[in-house]
């Protein structure tokens, strides 16, 4: 555990472990090194290893068949879906064409990209700035306010539904009407407590020497944050980016509440829902649309797995 005023009060649960592992250059959650083997133990080891591989392969099949099957279906024609062929007889992208052109998935895709990008940017800025303040600057009530921030994680989304719905329909004081607007969505998602927590934990692991050098050069707090702390926080910023982007991309709950009824604002999950209620058995098109919704996140995952996994584990503080 790193040192820090409030650190001793936090249990070494997975989120804290993960935030610190992010600071190390190695693999996150890669596994414990094997115990030293003793003579005469090799046979038991071999058996254990074979069992482990069998388990791995069985679980992998179980986990992947649904995805492979849906990809395969998205390349089939509707009559062919009734069959049991794993590979489509005449693979074609017709279902993708039809999903993109006739069901406005282009628009949903653009909306998803737009929402996820903006929310990611505000989260990056506000959580790193706030995280820096909570980790480094001294001000009265700091620990209490941080506990309060963490405490908001216990307030479930459903409880916020009615108040936020009312607030966005007719905001107190300013009387804004933000239901059905992108602004409404951005406003309630400016910054998350999990990303703030992740940034703070990460900043705590950075040695203070760097800032002291900047201080001697006469740099102010904002300059120190921008020139010294941010460049050192690459892995944490990557984790926040991925976590927020994925969370917004997949978000079903708030777009449903804010955008339902206005099809031009739909994101991919809402588009899928609409598709499912209106055209439910056009399986190739529905599977094509699902594949479109999954692929971007899957690609990010393939390339930035390490940050993904550390971010998700650290975000486990949400609950």
């Amino acid at each position: 555990m790193t040192t820090g005023d409030s650190e001793s009060r936090l249990p070494p649960v997975p989120p804290v472990v993960a935030a610190e592992q992010l600071a190390l250059e190695g693999e996150t959650a890669a596994g414990t090194p094997p115990p030293p083997s003793l003579p005469g133990r090799e046979r038991a080891d071999t058996v254990r290893r074979i069992l482990a591989y069998v388990g791995l392969i069985l679980i992998s099949i179980l986990f992947f068949v649904p995805f492979l099957w849906s990809i395969s279906t998205s390349l089939k024609s509707l009559p062919e879906t009734a069959g049991f062929n794993f590979l489509p007889a005449h693979p074609s992208f017709r279902a993708y064409d039809s999903a993109i052109t006739s069901f406005n998935f282009k628009r949903y895709f653009a909306n998803s990209v737009f929402l996820a990008t903006v929310v990611t940017m505000t989260n990056l800025f506000l959580s790193s700035l706030g995280g820096y303040a909570f980790a480094r600057l001294r001000f009265p009530g700091r620990e209490l306010l941080f506990m309060l921030v963490l405490g908001t994680l216990m307030i479930p989304n459903e409880l916020r539904l009615v108040p936020i719905f009312q607030m966005l329909t007719d905001s107190p004081v300013f009387h804004l009407h933000l239901i059905g607007t992108y602004q409404g969505y951005f406003l309630i998602n400016l910054v998350g407590a999990t990303t703030l927590f992740l940034m703070r934990q990460y900043f705590l692991t950075i040695p203070k020497d760097y800032e002291e050098a900047a201080k001697l050069d006469g740099a102010g707090y904002f300059k120190t944050y921008r020139r010294v702390m941010l460049p050192l926080a690459g892995p944490a910023l990557a984790a926040v980016t991925i976590l927020t982007f994925q969370g917004t991309w997949n978000d079903f709950f708030w777009p449903l509440i804010i955008f339902l009824g206005d099809e031009s604002k739909y994101t991919l999950p809402l588009g899928l829902f609409q598709f499912r209620t209106q055209y439910q058995t056009l399986w190739p098109q529905l599977m094509a649309a699902s594949v479109i919704a999954i692929v971007p996140i899957a690609l990010i995952y393939v390339f930035f797995q390490r940050y993904f996994i550390a971010g998700v584990t650290a975000a486990g503080v949400k609950g």
Binding site: P11, V13, P14, V17, A18, Q21, E27, A29, A30, G31, T32, P34, P36, L38, A52, L56, S60, F63, F67, T81, F84, L129, G130, R138, F139, R142, V149, T152, M154, I155, P156, E158, L159, R160, L161, V162, P163, I164, F165, M167, L190, V191, W249, N250, F252, L256, L272, W283, L286, M287, S290, V291, A293, I294, I297, I309, V312, T313, G316, G319
Partner: protein, 305 residues
């Protein structure tokens, strides 16, 4: 000399003040956002849960009336029953599957990073997309029925999500599949916090791997178990996306997929009973808060032990 010391103190004092002001400035927007969109909603929801509150605002002060009504409400009880049943099945399965996968992936195996990535994959896909896939696989002419049919040697056309006897169970299966990977990651982080010295000692004592797991690893994972259990319970109690997607929002067939949050959504958005919906939210919040607090206390004990 004395004057100099005083000025030093003064600049030091103003420097401290500056640091504090900058600190407050940096956290201002995040804090404002948490106050307006989390803390205020909590207080507001608590307040209007004591009123009959409609689209145009306050109708009547009903005191605990909403809360009394909740427990006499057939649909709420159905939703509560479904949600608790769902939680009771999904949590143990997720924990067992998550732990098994973590232990396997934690072995010194080739390609373990690949397998870890593969197991986590279903967790990162959009709930809507993955539910659409499940709808297809479990439809009456879907893959599952084809497999059952070919094993039995006759056509099998059960609509898993369409029949009230299997709809909720199908959602259980769906979420055990998709979120066990997340539990695996939490368990992996916990497994890593166990010192390797313990395993070395066990190996020298000649303990087999099965014994080592149950006698050493499993008990040492105590904080991990609590953590995963609480995350899993909280997530399960809040089940919404899949139930909404599968039933088109209505909780059907025959209310078999009606969950607490789905019920809350319907009373708030469709029936515009804001006070009553908030009371439902408060009941769920109390359940979740109690469990989280319980986790804190248990953690405290696990730490000091």
């Amino acid at each position: 000399m004395a004057t100099r010391a005083r000025t030093d103190e003064k600049t030091l004092g103003s420097e401290k003040l500056r640091e504090a002001l900058v600190g407050y400035g940096f956290i201002l927007l995040p804090l404002a956002s948490f106050f307006v969109f989390s803390i205020y909603p909590l207080i507001y929801a608590l307040y209007i849960s004591y009123f009959d509150w409609g689209a145009l605002g306050k109708i009547d002060n009903v005191g605990f009336g909403n809360y009394r009504e909740i427990f006499d409400d057939f649909l709420f009880r159905k939703a509560l029953k479904n949600t608790l049943l769902y939680t009771a099945v999904v949590v143990p399965c997720q924990m067992a599957l998550g732990l098994s996968m973590a232990v396997i992936v934690n072995q010194a195996l080739r390609a373990r990073t690949f397998f870890r990535a593969a197991f986590y994959f279903p967790s990162l896909a959009s709930s809507a997309a993955i539910t659409a896939i499940a709808l297809y696989l479990l439809s009456s002419d879907g893959l599952l029925n084809s497999i059952i049919g070919s094993v039995r040697g006759e056509t099998y056309a059960h609509s898993w999500f369409g029949e009230s006897s299997t709809a909720l169970q199908s959602i259980m299966g769906l979420n055990i599949w998709t979120t066990s990977g997340t539990m695996m990651l939490f368990y992996l982080a916990s497994l890593q916090s166990i010192s390797t010295d313990v395993y070395e000692a066990a190996a020298i004592d000649g303990a087999g791997s099965w014994r080592t797991f149950w006698k050493i690893t499993f008990p040492l994972l105590k904080p991990g178990h609590f953590f995963v259990a609480v995350i899993s319970v909280i997530g399960s109690l809040q089940i919404f996306d899949q139930a909404f997607f599968v039933s088109g929002g209505g909780g059907g067939p025959n209310y078999s997929t009606m969950t607490i949050v789905l019920y809350l959504y319907n009373t708030a958005i469709n029936e515009v009973r804001f006070g009553y919906a908030s009371a439902v939210g408060i009941v769920l919040f109390v359940i979740i808060f109690t469990l989280t607090l319980g986790q804190r206390l248990l953690f405290g004990r696990a730490e000091s032990a």
